[in-house]
Symmetry: C2
Subunit: 290 residues, 2 copies
Amino acid sequence: MPVRGRNQSAQALSVHGRLFLIDCGEGTQYRLVEERIPMMKLDSIFLSHIHGDHVFGIFGLLSTLGMKGRQTPLNIFAPLNFGPILKFFLSYYGEGLAYEIRYTPLKMKEPETILETKSIAVQAFPLNHGIECFGFRFAEKEPPFNVHKEAIGRYGLSLTEIGTLKRGEDVIREDGTVIRADEAAYKPFAPRSYAYCSDTAPFPQEAEWLRGTTVLYHETTYQEEYADQSALRHHSTTLQAAVLASEAGVKKLLIGHYSSRSSEILSYEAECRRLFPETFATSDGDSYDI
Amino acid sequence: MPVRGRNQSAQALSVHGRLFLIDCGEGTQYRLVEERIPMMKLDSIFLSHIHGDHVFGIFGLLSTLGMKGRQTPLNIFAPLNFGPILKFFLSYYGEGLAYEIRYTPLKMKEPETILETKSIAVQAFPLNHGIECFGFRFAEKEPPFNVHKEAIGRYGLSLTEIGTLKRGEDVIREDGTVIRADEAAYKPFAPRSYAYCSDTAPFPQEAEWLRGTTVLYHETTYQEEYADQSALRHHSTTLQAAVLASEAGVKKLLIGHYSSRSSEILSYEAECRRLFPETFATSDGDSYDI
């Protein structure tokens, strides 16, 4: 429910030159304008489930992209039951849209890769919200090796040899010289990952599916004292999210999707931090580097 | 299209203890919260047409009213082609709503009274927007007379005699004394009216249908230099709204629904004022007494 200064669910994720939108609550197109996030560059939209606070902004956003003259296709990954909603919307408002909407219905029971590029892979997996609902995990692939600049000069490396080292293989020259990859080359970064879990109650495989995620966003609709309501409504409490973050071995936990009853998000953070110190309570407009 | 600091169409009208909402663009429920307008007290919603910038906020608003536990019926007056939209919404999101939605489809060709109470009457009338679109006029009825307090003492008026004077009739006593209504009673106010016209190009009957309106809100999507585009898209220019206000003899003209291209709403106001000085360019959150 609307709360002053707290909008509904939507996150923009910028990764290797691609711009993703995760969920699209009412007002998202306005938030994109306010945060100067270029909506025309959106590549794909990922919708977790069809509850209004996660999707009612999609109609305005799709319309506006059309009015702005978008021609590039747009991917939408969303549960199967979003299909009729999209179809109805297009039957009423689709006439002027000059771009293709490529809708992929989600219905997996286990994590599945739904989008893959040279540098990243996106997985969707089922959540536990009493309605079709999915989480998303965006993971960088192992990057190719970079070759140390000084090694190129020192060994007088040819383009072919550089290519060999970039694949992580040693160079063996005709005269028997060996140039070792682990000495001349290096990984520019360790692969990072980001996962989004909203809305869901805890479920047995959750920690396993999120194992080793760098940054995890997880809903904490309720504080511990409302654990009963949380269970009833298929949501998670602060403690449950912190336990999960700990068990899954994530580096950082971002929390959000606070009950409209609560105005004190710092107490959510405090409750999580007792168990998982690297917890951060997100607010509208926050931006995090992963 | 979304513009920083400028939300889509929605107006709240408070009249004789009733709270009306006119149009419901995306984000309206948030704007109601921000402006501290009690959404649970909404009595009726009037939708001019189904374009997204006038209706995409209705889904979130209806859902929120349900979650807040509304049980009082809610009237929605909207064009005929809103019917399937409402039906589809209710089929997906209506399960939890404990209040009745009383939808009245609009399809008149001439002004028609669509809602009437003891003190006001609401008329709808067709606009000219290339799609089913309606304007609304909210008019107070002639109030009953009030009796001057000092006259009650001076004449020793009975309750029956006061009732007679309140109907505007003279009191004639058995002894022949005449107590004249135009001396002992008075009208507490002259009936006021408010009209809402968005979106529309000018049309022949518009001034006649708005004749004598106290305050008129009329769209001015375009300034004069874009008159061609305005005609093409069935909108009105500043000058057209000012001419209308003048011909209809309204007291005050409020303008809005500015093109997303324009950031200078004061130049809209200036253009109207050349012809109709009592013009005011509306901004988000403005409040006017009628």
